[in-house]
Symmetry: C2
Subunit: 206 residues, 2 copies
């Protein structure tokens, strides 16, 4: 199965006319990194200004606005970059692909992202823009998980009447609770993805 | 099964010498309500001062310190009060008791609490005091859920090798994700507790 890439390309101008990375791609990266740094340092998305981003990236504001129509679009790319690329799935065992997806939510990058999101979370209530950012960033991953689950229903690995949306929640909810809140310290981090997926697959009934 | 009450009694002086509620219990309540109001209004737990609480409750600081040794103890009682009393369980069907516990996490009180917690969450990373508050407040509810699960293992309703800590996480994680983040809008609020419990009990395997 070919690897999936993010639909929001953080380097829109990719004319590779010479050796090395094109200047525009490096500029885009510097801008996105600047947003990432500001968010990681604890600044709220609300408080981040295009001026501050431009200053940190060492570019002019116009450079930013040429690439992103508004702050929201830039935030989506920055938060997407923080999450890293979509995981590559083997496309065979649904159990294995689910474990890959959950494990990808728990790497260091995501733990940092979890801390940033924890600080961003109050904004999800106050700021509709952040809700849209959050939705836009998480939607590709959710679709990926849905496609794995649909494949499992078709192959018979999962039950035919599986509630896909509830399954998404039952895999992501515990992962988010551990990432952001360390909700249950009695559940070990080691092999968390395998244990969670096997638990949800198996159920609790006798 | 007798109803369980919180171990942290918000009205320590209960000498009922005359009709109506004793003055000290009303004072305690006013103080706790004041903290509740300040938190609900979006003030961070860090920023809340005993002075501000005293002013809002219409009491002197000494009145507060007579009852609570420090701000942390007061926060624990206030957040506990926000959560409301522990739910009453019927003690028969484990499925029904789990549904009662999850549903209790999703009433309006808890949704308000969820919003407050969302705003408090950044503090869980920065402020060890808030982590201790959060742990102290949630521990009685976790113990209640653990006791229900142990009962289910003994009765044979749940499988003998059930991972109790993972089960706690798989019930609470999705509930928290919906409460705080509205993580999956495609999962309806109506009958959420029943659907979640039945899903986790049943598993996803064919």
């Amino acid at each position: 199965m070919e690897s999936m890439t993010l639909s929001a390309d953080v380097a829109p101008d990719q004319d590779r006319k010479g050796p090395g990375r094109p200047r525009s791609a490096r500029v885009d990266e510097a801008i996105v990194e600047a947003v990432f740094d500001l968010l990681s340092a604890g600044q709220s998305a609300d408080a981040i200004s295009i001026e501050a981003v431009a200053a940190k990236a060492g570019v002019g504001k116009a450079t930013i606005y040429r690439r992103w129509p508004n702050k929201e679009a830039l935030l989506i790319d920055a938060v997407t970059a923080m999450k890293g690329p979509l995981p590559e799935l083997q496309g065979e065992s649904v159990r294995d692909d689910l474990i890959t997806l959950i494990a990808a939510m728990r790497n260091k990058r995501m733990t940092d992202y979890g801390k940033v999101t924890a600080c961003l979370m109050p904004e999800l209530y106050r700021n509709p823009e952040m809700t849209r950012v959050h939705q836009a960033v998480s939607e590709p991953r959710r679709e990926l998980m849905r496609s794995v689950l649909r494949r499992g229903i078709e192959s018979g690995e999962l039950r035919a009447d599986l509630d896909i949306e509830m399954m998404l929640l039952c895999l992501s909810g515990p992962t988010i609770a551990q990432n952001m809140l360390r909700w249950n310290p009695n559940v070990p981090d080691e092999h968390f993805a395998e244990h969670l997926v096997d638990f949800v697959l198996r159920g609790a009934h006798a």
